[in-house]
Symmetry: C2
Subunit: 218 residues, 2 copies
Amino acid sequence: MSRTAAPRPRWQRRPAARPDEILDAAFAVFVEDGFARAKLDDVARRAGVSKGTLYRYFDSKEALFREMVRAKIIPCVVQGEELVRTHGGSARDLLVTVIRRMWDTVRSAEVAQIGRLVQFELGSFPELGRFYFDEVIARTRRLLQAAIDRGIASGEFRRVPHHFATRAVASLLVHSAQHQCFFASLDPAPLTDEQVLGGVIDIVLNGVMVRPPSRSKA
Amino acid sequence: MSRTAAPRPRWQRRPAARPDEILDAAFAVFVEDGFARAKLDDVARRAGVSKGTLYRYFDSKEALFREMVRAKIIPCVVQGEELVRTHGGSARDLLVTVIRRMWDTVRSAEVAQIGRLVQFELGSFPELGRFYFDEVIARTRRLLQAAIDRGIASGEFRRVPHHFATRAVASLLVHSAQHQCFFASLDPAPLTDEQVLGGVIDIVLNGVMVRPPSRSKA
DNA sequence: GCTATCTTACTGACCGGTCAGTCACTAAAC
DNA sequence: GTTTAGTGACTGACCGGTCAGTAAGATAGC
């Protein structure tokens, strides 16, 4: 009678799948609680393994945190670089497209949460700051600057001092997105995502575009 | 012989001064370590009292944190409101002045750190979010909007949709300031504070100012 | 194809350090 | 003498990290 029962072992060996599953679980738990409050028991439970297994794949809680950030954020940067490299239209078109795409990225709860986490944990993990600056901030700046430079070359954009337009775009997008994520629910008159995005594009373009020679309305 | 010695008691009762001293110590420690990692023993030592004394003035670690945020951030908002209320010149002048003043505020390590802390701890302290939105974000927006509205009324500024200019100013300032605080040291080619501030003003004005009727250069 | 053997992925009870919060006590100050 | 600000040793919960043990599943031998 019990011949057919229990063909399923109590657990399975799945060494190839474990690391990603653990990173996903770690993301959820670190985002929820922050590094210090996050419990490895929670990560383990969520990943469907025991705590000991975590230590087979990651050296420590810190190492797990670092790998998690890396795994979640790098693909977003690569995607943006791809877009700039392959886009064909006008510079204005490219910039608007980049901004829209970047908005979708930073507006996602996932990335916004990572940004929040990283900024906070910077003080505790110096090497995390180095990594984040080099691999996320600097690369993002470079891809934005490439889009803007194209517009300067074509005469569509003015040459903003100190390449500040790049930083302005990044600041507006990141900060607005985080605001939408964390404060919109508290706002009695929140803006929609479309309104915010439109606002960012409006401010950026009208600060970046060369003034049309004559456009008086009256 | 020992008649003159030891007139100094081992400790003094100073109930009026303790709360502020404890709040200052709490600020330093919370900023350094974040809420979860901060140790009340450290706060006590820094304030020159014992841990038990903390509990005479504050109900819990959480309460201490909330009161600390309140004590550090509100004066900054009040100062900004004052400025807008009393300023006499043109709207452009007022806006630039507000931006400069606000930059000095958010650029200070103290306020940047509070912002970082608050944003991070939002998830753990719902009522902190409510307080921060109502008493910091909303009030700051209102004072910025007052400055911008003055410019719209006088014809100096265009009417940006959804009052987004207000948000753009705040985002640019806060995010740029935090960037200067936390990442400038990692940047191989950092901008000076003056350059960043100039960049913000440039972007904001050229997105906000009504285009001069004719200013063709050629 | 069936069992014996070996490797190693995985488990989970346990340990030691940490720290928020308590309380019985001390002494400053009126 | 009374009040109460202030002390600091203590406690109990919590959690990162360990490790001896278990069993999955691959491989070898027959």
